[in-house]
Symmetry: C2
Subunit: 493 residues, 2 copies
């Protein structure tokens, strides 16, 4: 780490980009809009995946894999779906290269043109429902509770690492049900799974809600979502769960014999979270020194750094350090002992702060004498000296990591609360949005036209109609028309 | 399961295709050459992935993720590499669809043509080495030991589920080293990791060897491989590990400052296994009743089937069954209790045989009386009655599963040995190949021309030059020219 990060207060956007690169999370690739997820960043994503996968399986889902390519005609079968995705589709048109006749290198072989163009999946509803047609005959085949971990492509003109990239990694659940209510229940269940993951593991508090028609998934009847607040006052959609009604069943003619002897179209849901969560994780907690990772998703929980002069001192410190390391590992913690002689302790401190390691243990000759270690918390940047004779270090560290997890969540929660403002007039809306940002809880007349107008005027969109929003008489901030419920507006990533 | 599988002896190829579909492993997708991996098939792949991933990490590797797309010019930078892959590349040429002017649906927007075509990765050496250029400056940055789990596309004209599909899932390791020897050591290490995985987990014995020049990876200096023998006497390449020399470092100008103060090109390796392993697993062990899975990769180790008349009897059996189930699960085994009343025991027996569940426990009223259960092994199709008063069922079952794992391996090993024949003349070569198949251990003059000729005449290729092959004077079976080592020929998948 040659020099400090840009400050959040000066240039939040630059701070984010630099942090992602310097903390070895990701970088831009030679391919426009696509990213390389570097090993350290990927190790965080792997922890997210493992936990989410467990939660999906605990709720009865199984994994499968469907093709990367979608025939163009399939994408077109659901009208609003193709409308929503057509503008950002990567299209495969040929299947072979050949040497150029003039010897200038390889060119696309014009004779190897596909009869029907293939779309690189932007999402897999179409190819999956075309498959479900063969899997579902009767109510006995339902529910189908399938998830897929995959890469998808949506051609983006303006990209940002993790937040918006042309290719991203995600999971997409696709379920099929015999009744409307069961499908709605599944949609809500998965929104709640996402919310629990965001809050308990990512330490990111989220608002659970429903999207307005404008922001709904292309092909869904309802989109449930979780919305998070970033440190710059912008919102970030962290996950969506769609109730598809019978739209895709109708588009792909997926009917089932009901228990009562009839024939009906199948009810569907789909739900997904992506590597965008990495962006949310980074932006929610990190500071001007670098990443702040919640212990539950940190690849390394504790780093031990020896402070020494000469080989002999290092040997004595290492003996003690290895004892501690063994105890912590036995407790299931991921611990790194950094005894490299190529870097000074100060450099290492800064490096692990940049990388967001939740807890640092430093040990010098005086610690050896006193049977102590110095514990430094990444989240609060506070230090304390712990006497090894007085505490069982593994329990102490383990409890402290729990405290850190809670503290990070609480800090983000308090910030989110502070950044949520009830506004009742257009003037208030505009001034709060400009001066403070955050979530604006406001009345809206329920029409797409008004939402569109507000977006044009302010760049703020309705993030969601919160599920816990109480009924209340009010007037739309823009039109003054009657409204019975506040919705959450914000500028968003 | 409405009717039996085709018999292996009558139509091995049809048997395989039907087995893959009926055991719910995979099916063809609406997209030509691409497959859908169904949940049961995917759950086996997940077990493979988890074990391989652990073995990669235990040998010091980390995961990362690189883009799906490769600019055409990148692919062309290594001459033999593009030569090897150009004929099977899916090419992205456009990034948008639009509504046709005549209202006939969506068409590719001709105005959204990419400046440079993108290739859907057939393998990632090029995009990864272009990235490594920025990651590697000095010997201190080496070795880089990176793996990626990903999908790749190689446009195939003739496809078969798992064995050869246009899209497949795999892992690809890409490592960079400061010295030639270290890179060679890594190449050999990973071949050995693959061999250990194949033998210990898949229960598939493999020959470790080196490819001849004809069969080498496009861009490698040497390709190490593991070769397995299928029940129809054809060989299957189960994994490859490539020593890339400095080829990709030169193509992408990746140099490093050496410890001695010089500047040198980096040495590389790459290695991969894919969902093809699923094909190997299926074909190596399964029989005319269905799948035979080695316990270490079986998603369900034990199925318990109650045999009963009436609710009351089922209740009594279930009580005992649940006791056993708890004990087995506490031992870490995956157990299913199938008490569905919609299917008869005979149907269930056939179903779990088809699915390859290693062990079946049946319990009827007489078993209750006698405090026994009936254990049926999938691999040998043998049954035994076990007295629950005499053995701890969880230990008994656990040991039996180990025995099954060993038995399956030994059976495949014996078969492989029996199917390996030393031949010394062309006549012998031809007649053994026709009448028996298998591996033919024969002398070869070492030239690509002769290998090509043999392939034309017999459809057999050199699978590998086995690493344990001893030096021995001999004469090439085709040309009679001198040879100092036998190589393994076979017809192959």
């Amino acid at each position: 780490m040659s020099k400090g990060l840009p400050k959040r207060s000066e240039d939040y956007s630059l701070w984010y980009n630099e942090l992602v690169k310097r903390a070895d999370l990701a970088e831009n690739s030679p391919v426009r809009g696509c990213m390389v997820i570097k090993p350290y960043g990927y190790s965080i994503w792997e922890k997210m995946q493992a936990q989410l996968d467990k939660m999906f399986k605990d709720t009865g889902h199984v994994n499968a894999y469907f093709p990367l390519f979608i025939p163009k005609s399939y994408l077109s079968k659901e009208a609003s779906h193709v409308e929503g995705f057509a503008k950002e589709c990567a299209v495969v048109t040929h299947y072979r290269l050949k040497n150029a006749d003039d010897g200038s290198g390889v060119i696309v072989d014009p004779e190897a043109k596909l009869e029907e163009e293939l779309i690189v999946r932007p999402t897999s509803e179409t190819v999956i429902w075309s498959t479900y047609k063969n899997w579902i005959q009767s109510y006995r085949d339902l529910p189908l509770l399938v998830n897929q971990w995959a890469n998808v492509v949506r051609w983006e003109m303006r990209t940002r690492l993790f937040l918006r990239t042309s290719e991203f990694l995600w999971q997409e659940g696709h379920t099929a049900h015999a009744s409307k209510q069961e499908a709605i229940d599944e949609t809500v269940l998965m929104m709640n799974v996402y919310a629990e993951f965001a809050e308990t593991y990512m330490a990111v508090p989220v608002v659970r809600g429903v999207k307005s028609a404008n922001e709904r998934f292309a092909g869904a009847e309802d989109t449930y979502c979780i919305e998070a607040m970033m440190q710059d006052g912008k919102a970030l959609q962290a996950g969506t769960s769609h109730f598809l009604g019978q739209n895709f069943a109708k588009a792909f003619d997926v009917k089932f014999a009901t228990k009562e002897g009839g024939l009906d179209y199948v009810w569907g849901t789909s739900w997904g979270v992506s590597t965008r969560l990495m962006g949310a994780l980074i932006m929610a907690h990190s500071d001007d020194n670098g990443l702040v990772l919640p212990p539950k998703l940190a690849p390394i929980h504790v780093v031990i750094v020896p402070i020494y002069k000469g080989e002999e001192e290092l040997a004595r410190i290492s003996e003690k350090a290895n004892e501690i390391l063994s105890k912590l590992r036995a407790k299931g913690l991921s611990v790194k002992y950094d005894n490299r002689d190529t870097h000074k302790p100060g450099w290492k401190f800064a490096e692990y702060e940049l990388k967001g390691v939740p807890l640092r243990i430093a040990m010098g000759p005086r610690d050896l004498e006193n049977n102590t270690v110095e514990l430094a918390r990444r989240d609060t940047l506070t230090k304390e000296t712990v006497n090894l004779g007085e505490v069982a270090i593994e329990d102490y560290v383990s409890n402290l990591l729990d405290t850190i997890q809670d503290t990070i969540y609480q800090k983000a929660f308090d910030f989110r609360e502070q950044m949520t403002t009830e506004v009742n007039t257009w003037e208030e809306f505009e001034s709060v949005l400009e001066e403070k940002g955050g979530f604006l809880s406001a009345h809206w007349d329920g029409t797409s036209e008004t939402e569109e107008k507000i977006k044009e005027l302010s760049k703020a969109t309705i993030r969601c109609i919160p599920l816990n929003s109480k009924t209340e008489e009010g007037k739309c901030i823009l039109t003054g028309k009657p409204s019975r419920q506040r919705v959450l507006f914000a500028r968003a990533y």
